[in-house]
């Protein structure tokens, strides 16, 4: 049985354990009294907060139960926020206003003069456009009101496929849909003006196929600006999720096994040298966007996560070292499953990590970034997308996501423009800061009978998917048989059919469509030819300058790969003097190219 099969068993066993505790609480009087005592104790310690209208509310809401069996079901089955199995939240208070903010409000008799800053905003806005300096400008614009600088970077097509801007036939793609990065010099420009070693800064990079190469360039750029001592201080995330690329997003550049090996090389390096870095973001987002059902999204993402954990542990990296550095990324759309999808995922992850991998508390936490669904946004009557995204945001925060990106309404046509980005960001602020839904009370919307019904149905369906993958021989075997791909494609096909035949209502598209097509007048963020040419020219200059050194670095890299040793240190050297395409090309000579799956 693979680890995934053991995860299924561990969840089943845990559910049995919960039922046993319920029974025991009802029959074993002493145990029942203990639970009741603990429950009353927890309730007594909950602080009270006051809303702006003066309404007193507890900072944590709990079900109104006083029967030991039900208390056991809650405490063991769901856990308080921040307690195993973390159904309600990974942390105790999530988005609540800090207590001192309320106190200062009261002290000033309702006049909030001294707004004390929160520690961290959960807002993350994904951006990347044109050349490095253009994205850099956008980053500065986006963070100008933010206390913390959390940058989330989108790369253009050539970068995502590990090829250079001067490659045959990619000219029109330079800087489209993300930023063009060819060399360490671009990487220096990209984050210029930000203090990469500061605790208030982190960089997130959404790239998987060439992730180890881009990671090496980031480190090289940081060293150029701040010296070698900055490396252990670097904070951020790189996506580096190979499985989901093969299953859904199609941005794989090496065959699966060497791709996984390069990934493990990088994880081994960052775990030791960059303890604050998240070297992989296990992503369901693209699985969801490729058209999977929400259950497939969660099931494939979690099973991919367990497969990575097994692989990294197999390399000898201790689970409690890499476990807390794994992070997750899920899609949030409008289907009913999303009411509890991330909640259930967090619970399964915690149980599996604890029971099967023997992980400690920090490695049990599924730390989640959510993005609202891009697929749910449409071009027709596009302003409706604001409402779609707002509803998805509510769902995402009901699932206690740790961070969130809200899509811009103009995303169906273009890289989001500033106007719509601002609205998307403000949507989150309105929800978290202006509205009282999430800032006063934990569990404000948790635990409704409907939510519990969704939780049970979703968990059962995810475990069924796990069993099927296990039957096929585990995640890697199932991927090679293209099981997940074919399931996702079937679901996508059904989704499209439903839209076309109207059984899936899309307002403004197949229902309540107002006559002629409204042609959206949005300002398009297209990359001018002159900028594309500038990128090509810069690259040529870089290649010319480093021609001699590049050959040596590439030879050393290839030799390390052939020897089968951890090649990341050689990648770091190569990143100083080689372009992305040069490195990709050389690695492909050694390990081959990815053969597309259809």
């Amino acid at each position: 049985m693979s680890k995934l099969g053991q995860v299924v068993e561990s969840v089943e066993n845990y559910n049995k354990f919960v039922l046993d505790q319920v029974k025991r609480a009802r029959t074993d009087e002493k145990f029942g009294r203990e639970l009741l005592g603990r429950w009353n104790d927890v309730k007594a310690k909950i602080p009270t907060t006051r809303t702006p209208t003066g309404l007193p509310l507890p900072r944590l809401a709990l079900p109104e139960i006083d029967e030991p069996g039900e208390i056991a079901r809650y405490l063991f089955g769901e856990g308080l926020p921040g307690e195993f199995p973390y159904l309600n939240a990974a942390y105790r208070e999530m988005y609540l206003e800090p207590v001192r903010e309320i106190e200062s409000f009261e002290k000033n008799a309702g006049k909030a003069e001294t707004k004390i800053p929160q520690l961290e905003e959960p807002t993350r806005l994904f951006s990347g456009l044109m050349l490095a300096e253009d994205t850099n400008e956008r980053f500065h614009y986006l963070t100008r009101h933010q206390r913390t600088h959390r940058l989330s970077t989108a790369f253009d097509g050539p970068t995502l496929y590990g090829i250079d801007s001067d490659a045959d036939g990619v000219f029109g793609k330079i800087g489209e849909g993300g930023v063009a990065i060819d060399t360490v010099e671009d990487m220096v420009r990209l984050y210029d003006g930000f203090d990469l070693g500061s605790a208030n800064f982190s960089a997130s990079m959404t790239i998987s196929g060439p992730a180890p190469i881009i990671m090496a360039m980031y480190i090289a750029a940081a060293k150029r600006r701040f010296g070698p001592k900055v490396v252990p201080k670097l904070r951020g995330t790189i996506q580096a999720d190979i499985f989901k690329e093969v299953q859904a997003q199609n941005e794989t550049i090496f065959p699966i096994e060497p791709s996984l090996r390069f990934l493990t090389d990088m994880v081994e390096f960052t775990t030791h040298e960059m303890p604050r870095w998240y070297p992989i973001s296990i992503s369901g987002y693209h699985i969801g966007e490729a058209g999977s059902t929400p259950v497939q999204q969660a099931a494939y993402t979690l099973s991919n996560g367990f497969a990575y954990a097994e692989m990294f542990a197999g390399r000898g990296i201790p689970i409690d070292q890499f476990g807390p550095r794994l992070s997750f990324f899920l899609d949030c759309g409008l289907d009913a499953e999303y009411i509890a999808l991330a909640r259930v995922s967090r619970r399964i992850w915690a149980i599996g990590m604890r029971e099967v991998f023997g992980a400690g508390q920090r490695a049990q936490l599924l730390k989640l970034h959510t993005q609202t669904s891009g697929r749910s946004l449409i071009a027709a009557e596009f302003k409706n997308n604001l409402t779609r995204t707002a509803a998805e945001l509510v769902l995402a925060y009901m699932n206690a996501t740790n961070s969130c990106h809200s899509n811009s309404a103009d995303e169906p046509f273009t890289t989001p423009s500033e106007e719509w980005i601002r609205l998307a960001a403000h949507g989150q602020a309105i929800l978290l800061e202006e509205s009282g839904i999430f800032k006063h009370t934990m569990n404000m919307l948790s635990g409704s009978p409907g939510m519990k019904a969704v939780e049970r149905a979703v968990e059962a369906a995810i475990l069924d998917e796990f069993r099927e993958i296990e039957r096929l021989g585990g995640v890697l075997a199932a991927v090679e048989e293209r099981y997940q791909r074919s399931q996702i494609q079937n679901a996508a096909h059904r989704y499209e059919q439903q839209i076309y035949n109207g059984t899936r209502p899309i307002i403004g598209l197949n229902r309540y469509r107002d006559g002629d097509e409204e042609i959206p007048e949005v300002k398009l963020a297209r990359t001018p030819r002159s900028k594309q040419q500038l990128q090509v020219d810069r690259l040529a200059k870089f290649k010319k300058k480093n021609a001699e050194k590049a050959t040596g670095a590439l030879d050393k890299l290839a030799a390390a790969v052939e020897r089968g040793e951890n090649c990341f240190p050689m990648l770091l050297e190569a990143a100083e003097v080689c372009s992305l395409g040069q490195i990709t090309g050389r690695l492909q000579e050694v390990v081959g190219r990815f053969r597309p799956m259809v």
């Binding site: 097509g157 990619v170 490729a290 259809v598």
Partner: protein, 392 residues
């Protein structure tokens, strides 16, 4: 009856968005269209080369990652340069292509741009109306690939109308024409020139991957050599076909490789009614090797036997063929010169090798048995198979 409409679909380079095109492909084939699917992340030259070799009526491009104005224009430009502008271009891409973009794209020669919300029926109707007429007046071919592609279409069209193609009468003239073309060093084994190697075996055994890996070795070994591939996929009963072998081939997208995808068009046995004549034409066309791949086949007799053009037959097996009894039923095991157990990294491969070896020994025909892992880069088993095929 006229031949089904043949179109090529693809997603541009640096773009992996294949969800829409997968759905559209399925809709097309259900409505009688033969779709050669090239896959995602494909360059302009790959698309144009494939379109010319496959002699499609039109190319459908699904683009989501931007740069579409340039990309579509480059495809049209290259088609013109190659004298193949009878191949039309249409496409779409959700909301990333704006109405303004579409105006520019149409001005540059794109037939139609579909936006988000276009129904599948509308796209099918468009293809039938716009590309449904048979192409009677063909432009004068500008390249050998194009000339060969037109000839192959004539053969397929003739069979679709229930006639024997006229090509056979001028076979000698064709040979003479081709004899003038320069080729690499020759190891000609028969009067026709090329060595014809047949690949057959059950679906999912990895024939296409194996062929693509052999092509890589051939291209590396013979810097001027040329190779032709005739690949088959089944037609949906009485309707279109999804010809998808190109999508998983990474090494065969090369100017020295001529590939043609054929639908079986209702014929059982893994080949098309037009196969024999098409294969004969390719064998006469001065390639070093001609590779023919059947659709995934069952236990029935050898598909190549009756036409006699194939010089060497390779049966590709999956280790998971079932019991030893099943093995006894596979007629092709008696007829193939080379038997390949692909996916030999699977657990069952060792047993499979032993069982097949025993079965081949009973035949006493000096058949070769090779274990390969075609998906692995530089697989020694594939090297061995390549040597066997090159030297036999």
């Amino acid at each position: 009856m006229a031949s089904p409409i043949r179109i090529l679909t693809a997603v541009p380079i640096c773009d992996g968005h294949d969800s829409a095109i997968n759905t559209i492909n399925l809709e097309f084939i259900r409505h009688g269209i033969e779709v050669i699917y090239l896959g995602y992340h494909r360059s302009v030259s790959d698309i144009v080369r494939a379109a010319i070799q496959e002699d499609v009526s039109a190319i459908g491009i699904s683009s989501y990652n931007g740069g579409h104005i340039e990309f579509f224009a480059e495809v049209i430009g290259l088609l013109r340069k190659k004298g193949a502008d009878d191949i039309k271009v249409f496409g779409g891409g959700g909301g990333t292509i704006t109405h303004d973009d579409a105006v520019i794209m149409k001005r540059k020669g794109v037939d139609e741009v579909f936006f988000a919300g276009t129904s599948l029926e509308e796209m099918v109707r468009f293809v039938h109306q716009r590309y449904g007429k048979s192409r009677t007046k063909r432009p004068r071919p500008k390249s050998f690939d194009q000339q060969l592609a037109h000839k192959l279409s004539e053969i397929e069209d003739a069979y679709a109308k229930g006639k024997r193609p006229t090509r056979l009468r001028d076979a000698t003239a064709w040979q003479a024409l081709n004899a003038q073309r320069p080729t690499s060093k020759k190891k000609i084994r028969n009067s026709r020139g090329a060595r014809v190697i047949g690949f057959t075996g059950p679906g999912g055994a990895g024939k296409t991957t194996l062929i693509d890996e052999l092509v890589l070795r051939f291209l590396n070994r013979s810097p001027k050599g040329r190779i032709a591939i005739l690949s088959h996929d089944p037609s949906v009963v009485g309707e279109g076909a999804l010809l998808g072998d190109r999508a998983t081939m990474i090494n065969s997208q090369d100017d020295r490789v001529f590939m043609r995808s054929m639908a079986t068009r209702g014929q059982a046995g893994g080949l098309s009614p037009a196969t024999q004549d098409c294969l004969a034409l390719l064998a006469d066309s001065n390639f070093d090797h001609v590779i023919i791949e059947t659709v995934g086949t069952g236990q029935e007799a050898m598909p190549f036997r009756k036409n006699g053009i194939v010089d060497l037959t390779t049966l590709v097996m999956n280790p998971d063929y079932g019991s030893r009894l099943q093995l006894q039923k596979i007629v092709m095991l008696d007829l193939a010169e080379i038997v390949v157990v692909n996916k030999s990294d699977l657990q069952r491969a060792r047993t499979a090798h032993a069982e097949i070896e025993q079965r081949l020994e009973q035949n006493r025909r000096n058949q070769h048995l090779v274990d390969t892992v075609a998906k692995r880069h530089r697989d020694p088993g594939v090297d061995q198979l390549f040597e066997l095929i090159s030297n036999r």
